[in-house]
């Protein structure tokens, strides 16, 4: 059986104020759909974060509609979708019962009785178990189990039930939208629970997925394998932040044999406009590089003030999104701002002040005079 695993399309995302829908359209229509046409998979798995927001912009919805139509109706490839933490699962799963008859399987809400999609191939049946992104609270209430307090326990509970229900002779694929321990994150991922503190509670053990033939994960934007070789993140469709500038964006093409062993290949995707970072001096950059429409983050090494760097850069690179000025010392103010005068005595403070303002040191006599006054004040206060 052959299938394609992808995730984190984030349709409708804004990036520095720009709609990325055009780029996403390019990718999906010009690259992804031809790929499907060529590889002819049995099923397409999309592991969540289809939209970037709960209520996505209209263009994004139109795009998804078109793409899915093309894939399902024209290319006749069934699609299994789960909702992620960016999607609104309920909204995504609208009319899912009808859609499932047309081979578009959308799972947006947690179902305590396990959902599954069955695919048959020449060797037998394969069960695909979709786990849409759910807050642990919901799972806790569904099972009335007070021990489910975080994502790890929630997912493990659900997987246990799946394992119980699964017919051992069938092959099993799990789709989930989680953050596993050991996964590498980047800027553009929204933390899973807004109430979780940094790290720890929202992670899931990769060992939970032992026993499944393949685990199709979504949420992290870098394509990676975690733990087991069969537990994979397909990565996002395109680069969504400058921290991904060095990622290679791809989709997973997986072949599963009769025993459930999977061999996978990463098929890269080339977007119309790349996202990259340039470092250098302003003059150099303006002179050397060719004009490009790429989304750029420019790090200027110039010290001192520059006049209208953005304007100048945009003449050549209209899609410069961000300028970094690491060399710019913010002390063209005369006063050093790391005084930390919390730990400094008043007379030292005064000497600093004096020095800054009059540009000469406080003489000893002056120091004594100042200290005298200080003592008088202290005595008076006591």
């Amino acid at each position: 059986m052959r299938f394609i695993h992808t995730s984190d399309w984030h349709l409708g995302r804004f990036f520095f104020g720009l709609h990325l829908t055009a780029d996403q359209e390019y990718l999906l229509k010009e690259q992804f759909i031809p790929l499907i046409k060529d590889t002819k998979p049995n099923v397409l798995l999309i592991s969540g974060d289809l939209y970037d927001r709960a209520v996505p912009p209209l263009e994004a919805i139109a795009l998804l509609d078109e793409v899915l139509y093309k894939i399902i109706a024209e290319l006749k490839v069934p699609v299994v979708i789960i909702s992620g933490n960016h999607d609104s699962g309920e909204r995504l799963a609208f009319a899912s019962r009808f859609l499932s008859e047309q081979k578009l399987f959308v799972f947006g809400q947690f179902n305590p009785d396990v959902d599954s999609v069955t695919i048959s191939d020449s060797y037998g049946t394969i069960n695909i178990y979709p786990l849409p992104y759910t807050e642990p609270v919901t799972i806790r209430e569904a099972f009335s189990d007070k021990n489910i307090t975080d994502h790890n326990t929630a997912v493990s509970e659900v997987l246990n039930i799946i394992k119980l229900k699964h017919t051992a002779t069938n092959r099993a694929i799990v789709m989930a939208h989680v953050f596993t321990i050991g996964g590498e994150t980047c800027e553009s991922e929204r933390p899973l629970s807004s109430s979780s503190s940094a790290g720890g509670i929202d992670t899931v053990n990769t060992s939970l997925f032992n026993g499944f033939n393949y685990t199709a994960l979504g949420h992290l934007h870098r394509a990676q394998t975690v733990g087991n070789n069969t537990v994979r993140y397909s990565g996002s469709l395109m680069k969504y932040s400058f921290s991904e500038a060095n990622h290679v964006k791809s989709v997973e093409l997986v072949d599963m044999d009769k025993d459930g062993n999977c061999t996978s290949e990463r098929i890269p995707l080339t977007p119309k406009r790349d996202l990259r970072q340039i470092t250098g001096f302003l003059k150099g950059i303006l002179n050397n590089e060719n004009r490009s429409d790429d989304y750029l983050e420019v790090t200027l090494l110039d010290e001192g003030a520059l006049l209208n760097p953005m304007e100048k850069l945009r003449e050549k690179y209209p899609n410069v999104l961000k300028i970094e000025r690491p060399m710019l010392i913010k002390t063209d103010t005369k006063f050093s701002n790391s005084l930390a005068h919390k730990n400094v005595t008043k007379s030292e403070l005064f000497s600093c002040f004096f020095k800054e303002v009059e540009n000469k040191d406080l003489s000893d006599e002056q120091k004594t005079v100042f200290n005298e006054i200080l003592n008088n004040i202290n005595k008076y206060n006591q």
Partner: protein
């Protein structure tokens, strides 16, 4: 400050008591206050602000305005906030002024929840305490902890002075300002002091009449020289005057010596005059010495004489006493004898006494018996009276009884008739009824008769009618038949058989008459006839009825008449009979009462009788007793004589006799005693007389001997007689003084002699000289000397004065120079600290600037993230605006243009992000400063609507990151996106009558 629980009532749109428990959030520290427009989201912030400070968060609504208009006047407006500052928890309750209620506040410290400790219970006190607790006032709170709706830009856009104020409060830089002030004051002080010193200097120069210090020195030097010169002069004149004085002295002394001599000689002369006198005194002294021992003897002689005289006197007295004693003795003896004679009287008295005592008992008995008698008498009298009374009553009662009995007889007679009368009455009544009935019947009879007549008439009428009707009908019938015939005749056709007769020819068909009645008419006629016939039969029936009734009535009347023959007026008879019956009934009742009374009376009479009997028996016994007692009394009285019959009299008598007996006894005793004492007295007196005689004898002998002694001694001493002796006598002390006088005189005379001798020696070769010449010379020289001395001293004074001035001046100069030196430093520092420096920045401002820099650093970091790397916040450094006012202005650096520009040029959403990062920056930095204020909470009221989705994302990310720092972040927004992103929510719903809140966690 972290809110723990908020209770709102009657505030804004909240009608019922709302309890918002922030602890429900657990360790979630980011929560969303969500609800429709106007549901009361900002009111929650207002409530928190109001609870803490009494002002609302936007400072646009006053406390009074916050009173909910939905509540009725019974519901109070009150806000309670429990909050923690650091580790301690407090609770504050406030209510604004509304209606009649005044503004009020109360602050408790919660150490344990059972009894919080009341710290303040008045608004002003609570306000003060809150500011000290939290460390900042409402202004700062509004800028830093709560970013109010539409007002979040204030901190960013605020003018420098206000920002300075806020920063001052937050970072407590007041002390630097104090230092500035102190420096300024100190510098001023020094200036003032220096001025003083200068004035002093000038004064000194004025006084010393010099224009400068050098002048003064010169003067000093000059004076020194003058002084030296004069010293010499003074010395010389001094010597001169000394020598003149010595000379004068010597002359004086010589003159004195001579004078001395003269004086001594004179003194000696006076002594010599008195020498004789003293010689005489000496003689006197010798005599006195001689007389001394004799005086002793004289003294003892005098004593003896005195004794003798005394003895004589005693003797005389004793004799007289003896005589007296003798007399007394005789009288006593006589009285005793008389007493002894009166023995017989005593005996009789005693006997009387004893008999009288014997009577005592009897008398007592008499008294008792008498008493008894009296008692019996009185009882007897009473009883007899009683008996009499009772008898009278009894008679009276008997009379009544007979009366009643007679009445009884009468009444019963009447009563017995009752039945009879009743029966009579019944019959009478019956008869009466019958007569009434009879009358009625008669009336009916008449009526029936009338009716009969009427009906008879009616019947005849009807008969008539019937006849008429019959006739009519007949005619009608005839007509009809004729008519029929005519009709038939009409239908006759020749040749056709007539239906009646069958003839075929019709010669004379019946002609139609006009008034052929129709069948109807005939019917009507028939009906009328029938009707009449019916009526007639009916009437006939009626008539017969009436007749029968009449017959009945008649019979009845007849019967009644028979029975009521000659009854007369029954009604009257009835009433009479009724009257009689009533009387009989009354009589019956009366009978009853009489019977009852009779019973009572009889009972009474029997009682009375019994009483009388008993009383009589009693009386008898009493009389018996009385007579017994009387006889007893008589018996006793026989024994006792008349006058003693009463106890009192007896006792008196007894007393008298007793007294007599006693007196007699006493007299006897007395007489005896007298006699014995008198005799003993007499004996004693004789004894004493003997002794005294002896004594007298002795004494006279002694006197004689002593007298002789004295006279001999006198002769021996050389005195001729006693008179001489008396003259020479002198007391011892007198002798001594005389002795002394004499010796003194002689010694002083001797000294005077010596003096004379000495003086002569000394003044041997001297002669008197004129002292005046010497004196004048001395005076002159002395005057000169003094003159010179005075000049010298004057010079010296001036010289020292000048010296003083110089010293003072020096000191002043030194002072001035040191002050100047100090001032140079202090003034400089003070000026610098107060802003007179190249950058026009005061010390405090400098500190604030650095603090602000720290804040801006943190804020910029956040702003960078939120604005995708474009903006950072900076402090404006240009010192154009003078007077130490620069240094705290803000501007924003745009990395796209590389230029900084005013903060006010930012767009709405951008300025929201800038304010948010500023507030976050401030709170971060404040936390990290020692002695800092606890800003553990931040509320953001709207403003997220200004952001595009990506910025919203970034802003939210920044806020989410805050949670890691443990800050409580509350967001008020109506944006649905946020609802999905933030899972801890406080839903505020308005349900028409008021708002309610609910935590969804």
């Amino acid at each position: 400050m972290k809110p723990l629980k908020l209770i709102i009532e009657g505030f804004g749109p909240y009608v019922n008591k709302q309890v918002i428990d922030f602890t429900v959030l657990g360790n979630r520290t980011l929560f969303l206050i969500h609800g429709n427009t106007g549901s009361g989201k900002s009111t929650i912030l207002d409530a928190i602000c109001f609870a803490l400070y009494g002002e609302t968060s936007g400072n646009e609504r006053t406390g009074t305005q916050m009173r909910s208009n939905f509540v009725d006047s019974s519901v109070p407006t009150e806000v309670t906030l429990e909050f923690s500052v650091g580790t301690e928890s407090y609770r504050i309750t406030r209510n604004p002024a509304y209606g009649k209620k005044l503004v009020g506040a109360a602050l408790w410290k919660i150490t344990d929840f059972i009894n919080p400790e009341l710290i303040a219970n008045k608004k002003t006190l609570a306000d003060e305490k809150m500011i000290t607790l939290l460390g900042f006032n409402a202004e700062t709170f509004r800028q830093v902890v709560v970013l109010p709706q539409g007002k979040f830009r204030e901190l960013l856009m605020a003018p420098v002075k206000e920002r300075q104020k806020i920063l001052e409060v937050l970072f407590k830089t007041e002390e630097y300002r104090v230092i500035e002030e102190a420096l300024k004051d100190a510098a001023k002080d020094i200036k003032v002091k220096a001025e003083h010193e200068l004035i002093k200097k000038r004064e000194i120069l004025n006084e010393s009449d010099c224009s400068s210090f050098d002048d003064l020195c010169f003067k000093y030097y000059e004076y020194g020289k003058c002084i030296a010169k004069y010293e010499v002069i003074v010395k010389e004149s001094q010597e001169k005057s000394e020598s003149a004085r010595n000379l004068l002295e010597r002359v004086r002394r010589d003159n004195e010596k001579l004078k001395e001599q003269e004086n001594a000689e004179e003194a000696l002369k006076s002594f010599q005059h008195r020498e004789d006198e003293f010689k005489q005194k000496q003689v006197k002294l010798i005599n006195a010495r001689k007389a001394l021992p004799l005086s002793e003897v004289e003294h003892s002689l005098n004593e003896r004489i005195k004794e003798f005289e005394k003895a004589v006197k005693d003797h005389e007295r004793s004799v007289s006493e003896l005589e007296e004693a003798g007399v007394m003795k005789k009288t006593a003896e006589e009285s005793l004898n008389t007493e002894l004679a009166g023995e017989g009287e005593r005996v009789t008295a005693q006997e009387t006494l004893s008999s009288l005592t014997g009577f005592k008992e009897k008398v007592k008995d008499i008294e008792i018996t008498k008493k008894e008698i009296i008692l019996y008498e009185t009882t007897r009298k009473k009883l007899s009276e009683k008996i009499v009374n009772t008898k009278v009553r009894y008679e009276y009662l008997k009379n009544e009884l007979t009366q009643y009995q007679s009445e009884l007889v009468n009444v019963s007679a009447i009563a017995s008739q009752k039945e009879l009368l009743e029966r009579e009455l019944a019959t009478l009544q019956q008869k009466h009824q019958q007569s009434i009935q009879l009358d009625k019947l008669k009336k009916e009879f008449l009526i029936a008769q009338n009716e009969l007549v009427k009906s008879q008439q009616h019947y005849e009428n009807l008969q008539l009618n019937l006849k008429q009707a019959k006739e009519k009908l007949d005619s009608l019938n005839a007509l009809w038949i004729e008519g029929q015939a005519a009709i038939l005749a009409k239908s006759l056709t020749a040749g056709k058989p007539c239906p009646v007769c069958g003839a075929t020819e019709h010669p004379a068909p019946a002609a139609k008459t006009d008034n052929i009645p129709t069948e109807m008419d005939i019917k009507i006629g028939g009906v009328a006839v029938d009707q009449f016939e019916l009526n007639i039969s009916f009437t006939r029936k009626e008539k017969s009825d009436i007749e029968s009734t009449l017959a009945v009535l008649r019979s009845k009347i007849e019967s009644l008449e028979i029975s009521l023959v000659a009854e007369g007026d029954t009604a009257v008879a009835v009433t009479l009979a009724q009257g009689k019956l009533k009387a009989a009934k009354d009589a019956e009742i009366r009978l009853e009462t009489i019977r009852k009374t009779l019973n009572v009376l009889e009972k009474q009479s029997t009682d009375l009788q019994k009483e009388i009997e008993s009383n009589e028996t009693e009386l008898k016994t009493v009389i018996e007793n009385e007579s017994k007692a009387r006889s007893k009394a008589e018996v006793i009285e026989k024994d006792v004589s008349e006058e003693f019959r009463t106890e009192n009299a007896l006792l008196k008598a007894i007393e008298q006799v007793q007294a007599i007996v006693l007196k007699l006894k006493e007299n006897l005793e007395k007489a005896r005693a007298n006699e014995s004492s008198a005799s003993s007295n007499f004996a004693a007196k004789t004894e004493s007389l003997k002794n005294i005689k002896k004594h007298l004898q002795l004494s006279s002998e002694q006197k004689e001997t002593l007298q002789l002694q004295f006279l001999t001694k006198l002769k021996e001493a050389g005195f001729d007689d006693v008179a001489e002796f008396q003259k020479a006598k002198m007391i011892t002390s007198g002798i001594e003084t005389l002795e002394r006088e004499i010796s003194d005189f002689f010694t002083s005379m001797q000294t005077a002699k010596d003096r004379v001798g000495r003086a002569k020696d000394v003044a041997r070769e001297l002669s008197l000289s004129d002292i005046k010449v010497f004196e004048d010379a001395y005076e002159a020289s002395r005057g000169e000397y003094e003159k010179h001395l005075k000049i010298y001293f004057d010079l010296k004074n001036t010289h020292t004065n000048i010296g003083n001035y110089i010293a003072k001046l020096e000191k002043t100069e030194k002072e001035i120079s040191s002050l100047e030196k100090t001032y140079s430093n202090l003034g400089y520092i003070s000026d610098v600290a107060n802003g007179k420096n190249a950058y026009n920045i005061t010390f405090q401002r400098f500190v604030l600037a650095s603090v602000l820099d720290d804040c801006l650093l943190v804020a910029s970091k956040r702003l960078q993230v939120m604005s995708r790397g474009r903006y950072t916040l900076e402090r404006m450094v240009s010192a154009k605006t003078g007077r130490a006012a620069g240094g705290l202005d803000l501007e924003v650096y745009d990395s796209y243009t590389g230029i900084s520009r005013q903060v006010s040029t930012l767009s709405g959403g951008e300025s929201f992000l800038a304010s948010l990062s500023m507030a976050l920056g401030l709170s971060d930095v404040v936390q990290s400063y020692s002695g800092g204020i606890h800003l553990e909470t931040i509320f953001v009221d709207e403003g997220f609507g200004n952001l595009d989705p990506e910025s919203l994302d970034l802003a939210l990310k920044a806020l989410v990151d805050l949670q890691a720092a443990g800050k409580l972040v509350g967001i008020i927004s109506h944006i649905p996106e946020l609802k999905e992103r933030i899972d801890a929510r406080l839903e505020v719903t308005f349900n028409g009558k008021g708002s309610s809140t609910r935590f969804i966690v």
